[in-house]
């Protein structure tokens, strides 16, 4: 209950600060749209040179991309911890976090909330509808519920991986460039895993399970029965990764000694 009210308090503060720099808010939403457009253009240009990608058609790839945008939007709104090391560890800000009465990770999530990223979910759903109609996909009564489940699972996968990466800073306080680049790797879940070789497929499924944010769950809606097992593994993987990451985080906090000035 206390966590809930804290959440809304921060939300209100967040709105105020965002509206202070209103022009920037629009530029930010615009830049998100732009980056989605860039990825979209990439797919379109690529399919100007081929008609099938390992047996997947253009509209199927577009659909996967649309799906990917939704959990990714949820993730980027709430887990803005890519600069955790510089912002909290190196500058010594984490000491302040530890004095707060709520769980340190939750406190950071609240401070770094970026709701405008949720806009990406709208684009994503629009893209899914666009390609879904072109593919002639039928919607079942259970699809919205499964969709919700998969989106939460996917967002937790992303959250788990990034929280784990943030935990590295508790043990090694050197600046790390892993986080920004991990965003690039995350993009590979957007393409059908069958185009990669076994090793990468394994990594994308079990180690950095980004395939569960894009292709696996999306395959369910595309009616690819051979992937159904993996599709429904999405929430499981999400919960497992996120739980492990919280465990690691708690261990890390115990280990934290303070750095910076």
């Amino acid at each position: 209950m206390f966590y809930g009210s804290m959440f809304f308090q921060y939300l209100a503060q967040y709105m105020k600060t965002r509206l202070q720099y209103r022009a920037d808010l629009f530029v930010e939403i615009f830049s998100d749209l732009l980056s989605q457009a860039v990825n979209f253009i990439f797919i379109l240009v690529v399919f100007g040179h081929t008609s099938l990608l390992a047996g997947w058609s253009r509209n199927e790839i577009i659909f996967i991309y649309g799906f990917f945008l939704v959990p990714f939007a949820v993730f980027s709104s709430f887990f803005n911890i890519w600069d955790f090391n510089e912002r909290y560890i190196v500058k010594g800000e984490f000491d302040r976090i530890l004095t707060r009465p709520i769980h340190s990770l939750f406190q950071i999530i609240l401070e770094r909330i970026e709701l405008e990223s949720l806009f990406g979910a709208v684009t994503g759903i629009a893209i899914m509808f666009y390609s879904g109609i072109k593919l002639g996909l039928e919607m079942h009564w259970y699809d919205p519920f499964v969709f919700l489940l998969f989106v939460i699972g996917g967002a937790l996968v992303y959250g788990g991986v990034f929280v784990m990466l943030a935990c590295i800073s508790f043990w090694a306080d050197a600046r790390t460039s892993i986080m920004p680049m991990m965003y690039n790797i995350g993009n590979y879940g957007r393409y059908p895993v069958d185009i990669y070789n076994k090793a990468i497929r394994f990594v994308l499924t079990w180690i950095l399970p980004f395939a569960f944010v894009g292709v696996y769950p999306a395959a369910f809606f595309l009616g690819k029965r051979e992937w159904t097992f993996y599709s429904f593994l999405t929430p499981v993987i999400g919960v497992v990764f996120f739980t492990v990451s919280i465990f690691l985080w708690n261990q890390g906090v115990k280990k934290y000694r303070g750095a910076g000035n």
């Binding site: 920037d24 990439f42 240009v45 690529v46 081929t50 600046r175 460039s177 790797i185 990594v203």
Partner: protein
């Protein structure tokens, strides 16, 4: 001049102090290149050539594009934005050097560091894993070297321009991100410009972005004829000169209407 060389040296040493994270960085770049390699292999399917590039050339293109990025990429736009927002820029302005020149030199120090500790070992590792084809023609290497220096300059100039806009927008993290996204696509990092439909190529001819990644990568992967390579490098050089103008104009405007927020 001495003070600027000192700035390069200091930034280089600063990066050296934090070098451990670069080993993981190389691994991640390799994964990155790998994923693009598989994507392109799937796109090629049974085709031997698309737009005059073979699969091997395409792999080389992707590998060199990413490794070159380590050299020309820097965050000086973000650094400038922070310094301007925190008011530190006021102190920088009264110091006896050109602020923009200092930022460029810091970027160069960073670039040189990454060239030696990231790009070179990274390229070696990548060439063992993927079918990358090096050329041992010294002329190609010479042209590539010139081209990559110019691409550093163009990218840095664009970063300076973006950084300066902080003076007018106060908070421009959105713009910085938008610029990065646009550069990734239009510079040819993600896919060669020649893959775009004709009308889009026509527009991009009049933009500086392809000088950042497309030109050096095409030179390296032997996608250009010698004639075309010379022509492309000339184009890069022209852009470097053209971009000086908006930077100077915006910079003098910015200094006049400088507002220090806090500080």
């Amino acid at each position: 001049m001495d003070k600027y060389i000192e700035m390069i040296r200091i930034r280089f040493l600063m990066m050296l102090a934090y070098r451990t994270n670069y080993y993981t960085g190389i691994l991640i770049y390799a994964i990155n290149i790998g994923a693009y390699y598989f994507l392109w292999a799937a796109i090629y399917g049974h085709k031997t050539q698309i737009e005059g590039l073979s699969v091997v050339q395409m792999t080389t293109y992707v590998a060199i594009a990413w490794m070159a990025r380590a050299f020309y990429f820097n965050n000086i736009d973000r650094e400038m934005a922070v310094e301007i927002m925190e008011g530190k820029v006021a102190v920088e302005l009264i110091r006896p050097y050109s602020y923009l020149m200092m930022k460029t030199m810091q970027g160069l120090g960073e670039g040189i560091f990454r060239l030696f500790f990231f790009s070179v070992p990274g390229m070696l590792i990548v060439s063992f894993i993927f079918p990358v084809k090096f050329t041992w023609n010294p002329a190609v290497w010479g042209l590539f070297a010139v081209s990559i220096v110019l691409s550093f300059l163009i990218n840095t100039q664009l970063n300076l321009l973006t950084g300066i806009t902080t003076f007018f927008l106060f908070n421009n993290s959105g713009l910085i991100r938008a610029k990065r996204v646009v550069i990734d696509l239009f510079s040819g990092l993600l896919l060669p410009i020649s893959f775009f439909p004709g009308w889009a190529q026509g527009i991009m001819k009049y933009l500086p972005f392809q000088g950042i990644s497309y030109i050096p990568s095409m030179i390296f992967s032997n996608g250009f004829t010698r004639q075309a390579a010379f022509h492309a490098i000339l184009e890069q050089a022209i852009w470097v000169i053209i971009l000086v103008l908006p930077i100077q104009v915006l910079w003098s405007l910015a200094k006049k209407q400088l507002v220090i927020q806090g500080g």
